[in-house]
């Protein structure tokens, strides 16, 4: 029941990009340093995330990465699914590509595993990176400036 380190790295990389509000893209080396990710491995991961449409890159000097969409439109669950595959304790209760097990419709555990999967989804699919950033600003600063009118 645990997330691969690759997946956690991916999540942290996205988080770093989400916190990086200035317009120029963020360099791989900066992300790696901030989030303590092996730089060569991070290259691989960012390449994958680009393929999934989560980040964009700019080459050349002054190049780097930035988010492809606003942080409040990316959930943690999306990234977990994209990097680690379906979120399901056993294959037969996967939402996206359920796999029939040997017990077909007569499995005594189908309902149970379904409830486990739902419990996880309820957390990870309802949390966006914007939510996390806000949560941490509150925790650190004690308050968050609210710009809404």
């Amino acid at each position: 029941m645990s997330v691969s380190s690759k997946c956690y790295y991916a999540i942290r990389a996205i988080y770093a990009l989400a916190e990086h509000t200035t317009p120029e893209p963020m360099k791989i080396a900066d992300i790696a340093q901030k989030e303590l990710i092996p730089i060569r491995f991070l290259e691989v991961i960012l390449g994958q995330l680009k393929g999934g449409g989560f980040v964009q890159s700019r080459r050349g000097a002054e190049g780097g990465y930035r988010l492809a969409k606003p942080a409040d439109q990316i959930t943690i669950g999306e990234i977990m699914r994209y990097v680690d595959g379906p979120i399901a304790p056993v294959d037969c209760v996967s939402q996206s590509r359920p796999k029939e097990c040997a017990f077909h419709g007569e499995c005594s555990f189908f309902g149970f595993w379904g409830r486990v999967r739902q419990a996880i989804s309820d957390v990870v699919d309802k949390t966006t990176f914007a939510d996390l950033i806000k949560e941490n600003q509150e925790r650190k600063g004690g308050y968050v400036r609210d710009w809404t009118i």
Copy 2:
């Protein structure tokens, strides 16, 4: 985020023993056949479960395994933890043996992973094997005879 097949086998083995209500112990071969578990692998698993105090064994002819305590006193979560280790998406939020990560108290994800772990625990630690058996009797038979007065 998935359970090892060893762990799922262990859960199914316990379930088979819980359903086996006659007094004599149940043979490994019978459990293996009923739950579709490779018999040699099941030997390994039952040995481990015995070490954890979940099952008892009797050797020799007419030997076999039986539960060490009633089915309503064994939760799925216990078995999962015993076989697969702590139930936690990342090591730092494990209840039993949390492992400090490189970010110490300043981790932006600590709260989030904690909520994920809690969501899972809320399901697996509150479901006993007796609950599962009852659920399946209701599903199959349409009703369950209630022997309580």
